[in-house]
Symmetry: C2
Subunit: 161 residues, 2 copies
DNA sequence: TCTGAATGATGAACATCTTAACATTTCGTA
DNA sequence: TACGAAATGTTAAGATGTTCATCATTCAGA
């Protein structure tokens, strides 16, 4: 009757559900300011680290470049950021927070922190830091291609010289 | 110089990154069969539990109903599932796996399990089950509205009578 | 029985994701 | 110097996410 698969833990699904549970706390706040998750991630990033290339924004904010292109255009149109080309290498796009974007970031930040406090309070500080540790390790999983390279004894990776 | 915010753990971002690292293992497999993540989630669900209402699919597969509507239409068009109205309550939509959908599911399942084994091997069985436990607990976070109700002593929730 | 609230799904509008193809610019090198 | 490869963004097309509105159906109660 119940044919439960032996190793079917559905890790991706649990990661998704957990994320939804957490985002339920932040989403109303961001919506109230007319921001999307992704826009808020980018704003915090730029506020924390200052201006940077689009590629680095993509990496750090976990956004693929084709998505990022549109997001940055809309954010510039909304007056949140500036976009300019790198003078040395005109392939590169430099993204920076505008003054009003920075002001908005500083306005939202404490509210976001308060949301986070709520979550921490409900879930428990110890479990939270334990979870973050495990997630950080999971993020370091070798890429499937890397994994297969390791499996075969001849490392196809670039020689470091 | 480095102005790291005190309680800025970025839990949602880590959940997202971790999920990406894991999905990198599954995505090529599903793409090879022309399936999306969501479609595969739905197929496994229907194979495991048999036919069910669309609403339950949405809940269990973590898909919002407006998205689900289109996904189910496309899956039926692809011959993976059947859709029919409940005879008793014609508001409800009953979704079931087609024969070819079931065959495809059974074809992919062992390959998916093999991917999972790889991940388990790299990450470690103990840490994996520990992580799953924490995620399951995090999913149980009270909704922000529930949390605020609990905070105020007068429960505004529906009286159970 | 009739009406208004509740329920389940869909429609609409916009944003984002995902993959593949392109365009531009830069760099290494013959 | 000119050519081809690599790096960086952008377009394109289709699928999904997100919020709000709407439609059809059912249900509860006057």
């Amino acid at each position: 009757m119940d044919q439960h698969l032996p190793h079917q833990h559905r890790l991706p699904q649990h990661l998704l559900r957990a994320r939804e549970a957490v985002m339920a706390y932040f989403r109303p706040l961001l919506n109230g300011f007319g921001l999307t998750e992704q826009q808020w991630r980018i704003m915090r990033l730029l506020d924390d680290r200052g201006e940077m290339e689009a590629g680095m924004v993509a990496d750090l904010a976990c956004i693929l470049s084709p998505s990022l292109t549109g997001i940055l255009v809309r954010m510039e149109k909304a007056g949140l950021i500036h976009r300019r080309k790198d003078k040395t290498d005109s392939r590169r796009l430099i993204v920076s927070l505008s003054d009003s974007g920075r002001a908005l970031t500083h306005q939202i930040s404490p509210l976001s922190a308060a949301c986070y406090q709520q979550i921490e309070q409900h879930f428990g500080e110890a479990k939270l830091s334990q979870l973050l540790q495990l997630l950080a390790e999971l993020e370091q999983l070798p890429t499937p291609s890397q994994a297969s390279e390791t499996a075969s004894s001849n490392g196809e990776s670039e020689p470091d010289a």
